[in-house]
């Protein structure tokens, strides 16, 4: 798979976020998307997912096909997005919520007149197991805590099985155990299928990106962008400038991460 994106990025209220963006995501890559608040990270993910307002300024192609005009079900089977915020009104159970991820793949069949919601029980179990949700399968979605909901939404994305996962702040609300588990899952998924899968995720801390990402894209919110190998991009001076914050390196197994210096 290959996702190619080129052009200028504008916010929904037509503010210029990035003058000249050029991004190529190939199979096998794990991208960190970083930048200060309001620098256009979510806007970019929306555009990559084909959900943004039709903007002629930014061209996004998946294997040469424009994502904005792709057939919705086909697009959903190729590109999946974990949204930062959801306005979901959902009264059903956790398992039902996760099952909705299968909408794009399951089609009506004569022997399954009630459709996709009975699509694939074993895949549903696997998706919930990967986010440690098996014990919560029957609980109602709106009784869950913020972190649990985040895992349920991730499980739904896993159920969707897209080639490219776009994750907008996947670690929000998660405890350390589940942060590690989620990152391990998505990076393993890519390393086990290096010809099919890729991930682009918005991360805010400076510990994880150097350890789990192969590539990084920095948006400074002032019109500039910097993309490349994680080891080239995520350097202390550049990150200090980007976040306007002096940093303290912490090293772990020869890989430097950063924490804010006080």
């Amino acid at each position: 798979m290959r996702l190619h994106c080129e052009g200028a990025l504008y916010s929904p209220d037509a503010r210029l976020l990035c003058r000249q963006l050029r991004l190529q995501v190939e199979a096998g890559q794990v991208w960190a998307l970083m930048g200060p608040n309001g620098s256009g990270k979510s806007t970019l993910l929306y555009a990559l997912a084909g959900l943004g307002a039709d903007s002629p300024a930014l061209k996004v192609n998946f294997q040469g096909e424009a994502v904005a005009s792709m057939e919705p079900k086909k697009r959903a089977s190729l590109i999946g997005i974990l949204l930062q915020q959801e306005e979901a009104i959902f009264w059903g159970s956790v398992a039902e919520y996760v099952m909705m991820g299968a909408y794009a793949q399951a089609s009506w069949q004569w022997n399954r007149p009630w459709g996709w919601w009975r699509a694939d029980e074993s895949r549903l179990q696997a998706a919930m197991a990967s986010m440690e949700l098996l014990n919560d399968a029957k609980r109602s979605y709106d009784s869950l805590s913020g972190g649990q909901r985040q895992r349920v939404r991730m499980a739904q994305l896993i159920m969707q099985q897209p080639s490219l996962m776009l994750l907008d702040e996947p670690l929000q609300h998660l405890d350390i155990h589940h942060q590690r588990q989620l990152l391990e899952f998505v990076t393993k998924r890519v390393s086990q299928h290096p010809k099919d899968h890729a991930v682009v995720m918005v991360l805010h801390d400076l510990i994880w990106p150097t350890r789990v990402c192969t590539h990084a894209l920095l948006l400074d919110g002032l019109g500039g962008a910097y993309a490349g190998l994680a080891s080239d991009v995520l350097t202390q001076p550049r990150l200090e400038r980007l976040f306007d914050c002096s940093l303290q390196p912490v090293s772990e197994k020869f890989k430097a991460g950063y924490v804010p210096a006080i």
């Binding site: 590109i79 959801e86 959902f90």
Partner: protein, 323 residues
């Protein structure tokens, strides 16, 4: 309750309500008379009453209730608002103004149907044009717009009620509360019911996902704009057909879908057919009450839908675990 069981039970309810509606009435017929007339074995007064008077009325009530419950279920899902009902698009206000004007100017029959149709379509067009003017389809704006327009139209209706001579006011009140006394041509409404039901069933899976919000639904593969336009039009047509047939019968479109959700049905592929069956039979029973309780005087059926529905709904709300 498991949805398939509820589906079977509601089909049973339809049967019971139809039998009740056909056998009860201001002319008291015995059980054997009704039974033999239903089978067509005796051609007499009972046969005439049941097949010429009661059957069209029962069918009308069923079509009307089914349409209202269906459009209420669709609009609650589309607007993602629990307080939405069939009339949120201003249909009842527009149709009410149309029919009250018709009564005021002494127009009857088909002309009155025509003016209320024009009123309903005018109100819908206005709500849609104002809410969907720009790129953003703002659901809050649509709800506000519908509410504002409805209150304006109801003020105009009140004005007509005040200006109208006393003898017309009763007819107007019956129309405003919902009344099936003149609903003897249910054919077209039934066609609309079948069409809207088929359309919304074919979109029932996307409808489930649309509750998750536009971005999420689209990312999961829903053809958002197409499904939204199709379902809005379907809901609007269903409401217009119901209002033309029976006036502004309240409560069915709000309550029936909620009651079904509270009973644990959330997937629209079950919720929609159960809503049609329960909405239809509920209105048949309410209309039977309206015909018989004060017989030979007929009461507006809207009074009965509220009197039967409110206690039931309150009871369901009290015993449901979810607030």
């Amino acid at each position: 309750m498991r949805p398939p069981i509820l589906l079977v039970l509601s089909a049973g309810l339809v049967l019971i309500s139809v039998i009740l509606g056909l056998s009860l009435g201001s002319a008291s017929l015995g059980g054997i008379e009704v039974f033999s007339a239903l089978l067509g074995q005796t051609k007499g007064l009972a046969f005439e009453i049941i097949w010429k008077l009661r059957a069209p009325r029962v069918i009308s009530a069923f079509a009307c209730g089914g349409l209202l419950a269906l459009s209420g279920a669709l609009l609650q899902a589309l607007l993602r608002n629990a307080l939405a009902d069939s009339y949120i698009l201003g249909v009842s206000g527009g149709a009410a103004l149309g029919s009250l004007l018709a009564i005021f100017f002494g127009l009857g029959g088909i002309l009155m149907h025509l003016t209320s149709l024009l009123g309903a379509l005018g109100a819908i067009a206005m709500v849609f044009l104002i809410s969907f003017r720009q790129a953003g389809w703002n659901m809050d704006r649509l709800i506000l717009c519908g509410v504002v327009l409805s209150s304006g139209l109801s003020a105009l209706c009140s004005l007509i009620l005040v200006l109208a001579p006393g003898i017309q006011v009763k007819g107007m009140l019956f129309w405003l509360m919902g009344d099936l006394s003149y609903a003897d041509q249910p054919g077209l409404a039934f066609v609309v019911l079948l069409f809207v039901f088929g359309l919304s069933m074919s979109l029932s899976s996307p409808l489930d996902l649309m509750g998750l919000g536009e971005a999420k639904a689209r990312s999961l593969g829903v053809r958002w704009r197409g499904a939204q336009i199709g379902l809005f039009l379907a809901a609007a047509f269903a409401t217009v057909a119901a209002v033309i047939l029976g006036g502004a019968i309240g409560f069915v479109g709000l309550m029936v879908p909620h009651a079904i959700r509270l009973m644990g049905v959330r997937h629209h592929r079950f919720l929609l057919p159960v809503a049609v069956l329960i909405g239809g039979s509920f209105l048949v029973i309410a209309d039977t009450g309206a015909r018989t309780v004060w017989a030979p005087q007929q009461l507006p059926v809207g009074v009965f839908t509220a009197l039967m529905g409110v206690p039931f709904m309150l009871w369901l709300l009290m015993r449901s675990k979810r607030a």
